[in-house]
């Protein structure tokens, strides 16, 4: 059993109890992905599996056999941060930074969902194309908590990067 993490093939753990989060942090030493609640309530461990945002704490590593995992370490280029990372700095999208890797991975997954037309709880018309308004981003990012209260900056950073064409 093996999976691909940020482009590199790695072996799945021998103990099936190992979560994807513990595999990333404890065995692969990719500590960018954070353990907040470890019970699916905070979103700090959000990573992308085959491009979809999921919670690494509620994923058994054996379940992602053969799949591609992208963590915060896999986003930046060799010489430059990912544009969303730059925007988080510019818009004060964090204070302590603990939720930030999860926020950024989640936002990238969210943008892909919106682009293919997935509606949200606040979408007035379920069949319409998605416009990433502030309200839509708030709802779609509600699975990522920020105890510092940087949510306004987080939404600004996401809007500036992933919904730039949308009026305020």
């Amino acid at each position: 059993m093996s999976l691909i993490v940020n482009g590199a093939r790695v072996s799945a753990p021998s103990d099936p109890r190992t979560s994807l989060l513990d595999l990333l942090r404890e065995e692969l030493r990719l500590t960018g992905t954070k353990k907040g609640c470890n019970q699916g309530a905070c979103g700090a461990c959000t990573v992308l599996v085959d491009g979809e945002r999921v919670l690494a704490c509620l994923t058994l590593a054996v379940q992602v056999d053969g799949r591609e995992v992208t963590t915060i370490e896999g986003l930046a280029g060799a010489d430059a941060l990912h544009p969303l990372q730059v925007a988080f700095i510019e818009h004060d999208g964090f204070q302590c930074g603990y939720c930030t890797p999860g926020q950024i991975c989640s936002a990238l997954g969210m943008a892909a969902e919106a682009a293919r037309g997935v509606p949200s709880h606040v979408s007035a018309d379920l069949a319409a194309e998605v416009t990433l308004s502030r309200e839509e981003i708030q709802e779609r990012m509600s699975g990522n908590l920020c105890r510092c209260g940087a949510h306004n900056g987080i939404i600004d950073a996401i809007r500036a990067t992933l919904a730039a064409e949308v009026p305020a």
Binding site: R17, T46, E52, C57, R116, P119, S120
Partner: protein
């Protein structure tokens, strides 16, 4: 977590063969079961991963939809036919959990998730008849704001946590299962149990029975349907009460109506009394409130949740008013 063996099934017959032994549990997206494993509420010796089984959504000859049990919640909510013909189902799913969890959670897993009663999860400090039969219930005299007001028992006052299942109850879905004794179909209202004196059993599934698909029958008024959820914060919280409803009018009178409540009972609560009272009646605010009062006439509130019958009634009235007025949210 206690140690377990992990096996992956590639089709339903293999899953049933692997799942037959004692101490075996089926694993879907893991969003509830992995948490239960970590808290040692669930202690299976063997997990059979069925998340890779067929995940298709197909039209039926009857004009409905057949939804594979491994379909992820997001995939079901974004399916074009669900959004247009069964909007209450799309809205119920989108009101539940977070986007990350909806990407992981399967349809079959959603149906078989356990309660979110905090005493059920508190293995060290609380008595719970659902977790350990016969041990007692600390919720009944404890903090019970989120607990049941209908159909509860002395043994258990837990609620069913699913939003999706409330819509499936209102839609008269059929649950197709297969198991060691063969295949059968279960009317959605017969899948989940009231607690009675055996609250450790959430459903009528036998051990080793696997949900293969959920079938939605056609519903003429399905397109005029919605789901409204009332909770302690605007997003990412379980329901205090919720309403799934569909409505068809004939002039001022109600030609057809479907109603189910969430957050009020051990199972999604199909409001048959309220539906019967409303069919043929004039679609007025008073009729909506009276129908809800009839549905909740046997309610037995606890210390912290006496607000639920009135809140459920007002939510139903608001939803039916919106549907009668052509609003959808």
């Amino acid at each position: 977590m206690t140690p377990f063996t992990y096996l992956r099934a590639t089709d339903a017959s293999e899953a049933v063969r692997l799942g037959a032994g004692a101490g075996t549990a089926f694993l879907g997206g893991g969003t509830n079961l992995v948490d239960l494993l970590r808290e040692t509420v669930a202690r299976p010796e063997r997990l059979v991963d069925v998340s890779g089984l067929p995940a298709t959504i197909e039209e039926t000859e009857a004009g409905g939809l057949m939804i594979g049990a491994a379909v992820r919640n997001t995939a079901l909510a974004e399916h074009r036919a669900v959004r247009t013909r069964y909007p209450m189902l799309a809205r119920a799913i989108l009101a539940g959990a977070s986007a990350q969890i909806r990407n992981m959670a399967t349809v079959g897993g959603n149906l078989t998730q356990r309660t979110r009663c905090t005493y059920f999860y508190d293995t060290d400090g609380s008595r719970c008849n659902k977790r350990l039969p016969g041990s007692g219930c600390d919720a009944r005299e404890g903090f019970n704001r989120i607990h049941a007001v209908l159909g509860a028992s002395e043994a258990c006052v837990a609620t069913h946590p699913s939003d999706m299942c409330v819509a499936l109850a209102a839609l008269d879905a059929l649950v197709h299962v297969t198991g060691p004794a063969g295949a059968r179909s279960i009317a959605f209202g017969d899948l989940h149990r009231l607690p009675g004196d055996a609250p450790d059993r959430d459903t009528t599934l036998a051990h080793g029975e696997l949900i293969q698909a959920v079938e939605l029958p056609p519903l003429a008024c399905g397109a005029t349907s919605t789901y409204r959820k009332v909770r302690d914060r605007a997003s990412y919280a379980f329901a205090l009460v919720s309403v799934a409803a569909a409505l068809a009018l004939d002039g001022d009178r109600i030609a057809d109506v479907r109603i189910a409540f969430g957050g009020v009972a051990h199972k999604p609560w199909r409001a048959t009394k309220a539906e019967a009272a409303l069919r043929g009646a004039e679609a007025t605010q008073q009729a909506f409130l009276d129908a809800a009062a009839l549905e909740f006439e046997d309610a037995t509130p606890l210390r912290d949740n006496a607000f639920k019958p009135a809140l459920a009634g007002r939510t139903l009235a608001a939803v039916l008013h919106a549907l009668a007025s052509g609003e959808t949210v």
